[in-house]
Amino acid sequence: MRLIVARCEVRYSGRLNAVLPEALRLLMLKADGSVMVHADTGGFKPQNWMTPPAVVEESPGRIVVRKLKDDDRLDIAITEVLSDVTHDMGEAAALEKDGVEADLQEQLAAAPGWCGEGLRLVRREWPTDIGPVDLMCRDPGDGWVAVEIKRVATIDAVEQLTRYLERIRLDPEKAGCAGVLAAERIKPQARVLAQARGLRCVEVDLAVLRGEREPDLTLFAA
């Protein structure tokens, strides 16, 4: 990773022409071939950039970045270099997301009772011909219960579960399959639509499921 802080003018030509007048900027040249021009304002987004594959040609006071396959070109005219450093970043570790749907699915698969009293898991990722529903369970009376899991459940999640149930209920044995929408947070509109369609909504707390936090004390199991 090469980081250059320089006073420069940047001209882009290609699908359109654009000029960044001379100012102090950060030029970021990454090992994967991407080049970004940052200012100290404007948020996370570069003022201009070139995605790989691209060719970087450097001469005194000038860096030219060209796309290999078309006419896109960044022409950077440098008048003053304040800093020019290169760092070996090593192997990049992949982003690890916490609290995603997969975590919730794993925890609820291990304890399906959070989705409804007495539920027991039949299978994760139960296949339907339009995609898998997250959990398929049986209730204490052996009735089928399909559970769709979201981190934040919106109206789209209700629609998705409704579509799955339509397909599942085509099987006469599962014609009475119930639906449960389980999420860390359920949007009010989603809740209204789910109730109108006879789907149950369950809000779960990942920290409680993981045993990191005790559930709230209640007078009775509601």
Binding site: D216, L217, L219, F220, A222
Partner: protein, 370 residues
């Protein structure tokens, strides 16, 4: 339809009935108020399909008819009218109502009257029970706050109302606290009564009964509906299906500590300390020999502590409560003495009015990590 009425009456009755008009229904007519003008009687109606309200309006009817007008807008318009009198006239050709008061004229487009649902009639062959309004209102006021607002658990959004003989009892719980109020009536009721009524309907009824200063109200319970009538106003509500929790089983048989306290004093301390129990922070009650220390702490905000003398003996212990829930219970007891019964930091505590007025408030603690 054409009628003339006093602006003050129209405003008062519209203000009452508009409260139950729906604010978010897909059926536009439900956001409206229906005006029914018949010979010698005008009635305003509104409903959100859960609660329905019928309110009489004193008016001179020149031409009978029925219209539905947008409730909130009509209320705002009437509130702003000049003069003392107002006339409303349906103009079928224009699909609007002409509202004239003083020098002001409004034309308000009507909503589809066909979409407005029919209302149940009070009586209609069902047996009604007449209840003293003041006792009913007081009982509602003491328990309704404990009903849940979580629509995913509809049974808990109701208040279990039961009455027989000279006893009226109401129970509400959201699973974190439970309120029970038993009120002794001076005269026996004509018949028994039991229904799980949405708390919102009861709170609306209490508001109306208080405003009208009526002595009595009548209650008619049907299969899935309850109809209240008070001073010519009829409030109907669907009943909540399902088994209400067996609250009797929730009340512990015995307690480790029973403290008789001056309710007003503790309430004031809890109110003050709650100011710094924000962002779900618990209110901490630390009991030690002869002293109760109430404290609260919210990270990045601050902390507060206050002590008061209490007749506590035994091993010190600390218990945490949701500040709002604890305050609700204490405020319901008001300034009367109370008995605070405790078992342990993770078992429910009971607040009881010490004057034998029949009020119980069971509250679950919050776990304290430190």
């Amino acid at each position: 339809m054409k009628l003339a009425t006093s602006k003050a009456d129209l405003l008062a009755q519209l203000g009452t009935v508009s409260r139950v008009a729906s604010t978010r229904s897909a059926v536009q007519a439900l956001s409206g108020v229906q005006i029914i003008a018949r010979e010698g009687a005008v009635e305003l109606r509104a409903t959100d399909m859960e609660v329905g309200l019928r309110v009489p309006l004193a008016a001179e009817v020149e031409r009978e008819g029925t219209v539905v007008l947008p409730a909130r807008l009509t209320l705002e318009v009437v509130r702003s009218l000049p003069g003392d009198r107002a006339t409303l006239e349906l103009r079928p050709g224009q699909g609007d109502v002409e509202l004239v008061a003083g020098s002001a004229t409004f034309h308000l487009r009507t909503l589809r009257a066909e979409d407005f649902p029919p209302f149940p009639e009070p009586g209609d062959g069902d047996a009604s029970v007449t209840v003293p309004a003041a006792a009913f209102v007081e009982t509602v006021g003491m328990v309704a706050r404990s009903a849940s607002r979580d629509e995913t658990r509809p049974i808990l959004t109701g208040v279990l109302v039961s009455a027989s003989g000279t006893q009226l009892r109401m129970v509400a719980t959201d699973s974190y606290r439970l309120s029970v109020k038993e009120t002794r009536l001076e005269t026996p009721l004509a018949g028994p009564l039991e229904a799980n009524v949405p708390a919102r309907a009861l709170q609306e009824l209490a508001r109306i009964a208080t405003a009208t200063e009526a002595d009595t109200l009548s209650v008619t319970v049907r299969d899935n509906q309850v109809v209240f009538a008070v001073d010519g106003i009829v409030l109907s509500s669907r009943l909540i299906d399902g088994q209400f929790p067996n609250y009797g089983q929730l009340l512990p048989d015995s307690y480790e500590h029973e403290l008789r306290l001056a309710g007003g004093e503790l309430t004031e301390v809890v109110r003050r300390m709650s100011l710094l129990a924000l962002k779900n922070a618990p209110l901490r009650l630390r009991f030690a020999e002869g002293e109760l220390t109430v404290s609260a702490q919210t990270p990045d905000v601050g902390e507060a502590t206050e002590s008061l003398p209490v007749p506590f003996t035994g091993e010190p212990f600390e218990i945490g409560f949701n500040p709002d829930f604890l305050r609700d219970g204490l405020e319901t007891v008001e300034s009367r003495d109370l008995v605070f019964k405790l078992i342990s930091p993770i078992r429910p505590g009971l607040i009881e009015a010490a004057d034998d007025s029949g009020f119980l408030y069971l509250i679950m603690p919050i776990r304290l990590n430190v």
